[in-house]
Amino acid sequence: MASIEISAVAKSFGPFAVLHGIDLDIADSEFIVLVGPSGCGKSTLLRMIAGLESVTAGEISIDGRRVNELAPKDRDIAMVFQSYALYPHMSVADNMSYSLRLRKTAKEKIAAMVSDAGAKLGLAPLMERRPKALSGGQRQRVAMGRAIVRQPKAFLFDEPLSNLDARLREQMRAEIKKLHADLGATSIYVTHDQIEAMTLADRIVAMHGGVVQQVGAPLDLYDRPANLFVAGFIGSPAMNFLDGRYAREGAVVLPDGTRIPVAPRENLAEGAQVTLGIRPEHVAIVPESPMEAAVELIEPTGFGIILHLSLHGLPFKVFTLDREALKAGPKVPVAFPSQHLHVFDAEGNRAD
């Protein structure tokens, strides 16, 4: 197991700068999840840690040792690819033992390690099959098995579950979590899936446009997003944003004149342009509220209900578990509890 330090790492493909000065310290046996929109450079960062891409600037160290110039094979890192990248001409057992054979591990030891890893992932009956005779889920397991078999310093996962159906994904997610608890291996995991990010991560790294936006525990990002990007990216359905002006006595005034009380923020000037954020699940539907919103659309998801509302023309969403909402009339009274309100300044940064 190992710690990984990434300091001021940048990457350009020719004239295209993809990563701009990434700083990240990953502790031993930590589970880090990288999230961000498509094209923000998650895979690129992962591949740089693996040694598959060169580092344009900055430094990557594993266990305190600079690895910028080290070939992938000398980094002792395992990677699970989105495509699985199984060797089609080798059996499952050979796929899993390939790295050990390259390292000239003793035969008996290889057999023991492979059957051990195979047993952990329930691959025992498939050991002699070729990848093309496996289902997608089984291939995914083999890819995992190939990674864990040699007990590397760290695991890298690039959207390993995105090719599986929802149910299998859920199952594998739990297995990955168990595996991590078991092996305690330092892991970096790239995903598009909110739930994977929230459930697996010790810390989430939210990236956008090649820049780290926020690093923190999943609930930190959820409860205290550092900026508009993180606020909008984490959580589903996404956070509602309402533009307005800040009033010093502790309120945000919407363009239509509606005053929404907020706790006073120190470093905001009177009349400053702000964005108010509130998560759909935090909007309250309370009969006595003076604020009324028009109902535009009702979406039952089974688990809960999403209401699409409009407040004097400003659209926002409410998520509620209350089935009564299905019967919501043309107007519902809503309230924005001030303890759940996020205020962002004109630059989009969180104001506290």
Binding site: A50, G51, L52, A71, P72, K73, I77, A78, M79, F81, S83, Y84, A85, L86, Y87, P88, H89, Y98, S99, L102, R103, R130, P131, K132, A133, L134, G136, R139, R146, N163
Partner: protein, 277 residues
């Protein structure tokens, strides 16, 4: 609906049969003439099969002509050329497919350029180059010339096969602890066997039937290849068709065997199951 489907299938089969018949007819004629006794060749008119068949032409060709030497020479030249070209093309095709380097564009352009010259233009300069090196009249010289002419196309062929293999595979191998060359040898090469078989087959047949250079660079029977040998059946006053065709039939055998050997690799898709697709 059903009837029209049957009709369509029938027409399809018929078209394929017609195509096969047209494609194989010259070969059939080759075989037919090779077993026709000389006496009947001109006297019987055009018939699909002679009234009497004979193997005397084959006997003569094998036992009394220099044909076995030609045959051996051709085997050596074509076999060596196929192997040399395939090895070179596999390496250079891999480089073109996987590496990005500055001169890549120019190398590809240059290779394309070499394919544009009519070969006849090159005979004299090549003769001039090879002759002081003692490579005229030698099988080695032929192998070198054939290799030089076949490498560009074979490289493009191999490159397209490498392009078809996902890059993830060798990256996975490199993370597993392989150098790029080991990943090439142990992971990529086994998956390129169909491509290698196709390249071997293509180069082998090209070298097997090459006439121009064989004719110009080789004089005398010792180093002559089989297409040159065939010409020896053409004398000043007559053409011995029977013997010529018998030699032709024999010359088909190695090419057929060769394709039989590699067809297993030509038809199989080894990469199935590598990546989710």
């Amino acid at each position: 609906m059903r009837a029209s489907k049957i009709l369509l299938t029938g027409a399809h089969r018929l078209a394929i049969l017609a195509y096969i018949a047209v494609a194989l007819f010259p070969l059939y004629w080759l075989l037919k003439v090779s077993v026709t006794p000389n006496r009947l060749l001109y006297s019987e008119g055009v018939r699909m099969w002679p009234s009497r068949t004979t193997f005397e032409h084959f006997e003569f060709v094998v036992a009394h002509s220099a044909f076995p030497t030609f045959f051996k020479n051709s085997l050596i030249v074509s076999g060596s050329t196929a192997v040399v070209v395939t090895i070179l093309a596999a390496l250079s095709g891999y480089a073109l497919s996987r590496f990005s380097f500055r001169a890549k564009y120019w190398i590809v352009a240059l290779m394309l350029l070499t394919q544009m010259f009519p070969l006849v233009m090159l005979v004299a300069p090549i003769f001039k180059m090879l002759s002081p090196l003692g490579l005229t009249n030698s099988l080695t010289g032929l192998v070198i010339v054939y290799s030089a002419f076949n490498v560009p196309f074979a490289t493009f062929l191999m490159q397209s096969f490498f392009d078809g293999i996902p890059k993830d595979l060798e990256e996975a191998a490199m993370i597993d602890g392989a150098t790029q060359f080991v990943a090439f040898r142990q992971i990529i090469l086994p998956l390129t066997l169909p491509g290698i078989a196709a390249t071997l087959g293509f180069v082998f047949t090209a070298a097997w039937s090459e006439l121009l250079f064989a004719l110009m660079l080789i004089s005398g029977n010792d180093a002559a290849t089989f297409p040159v040998g065939l010409l020896s059946f053409v004398s000043k006053f007559s053409v011995d068709f029977g013997q010529m065709m018998a030699a032709g039939v024999l010359a088909l055998i190695p090419a057929c065997l060769f394709f039989l050997m590699i067809q297993r690799y030509l038809v199989q898709g080894l990469t199935a199951g590598a990546v989710k697709g």
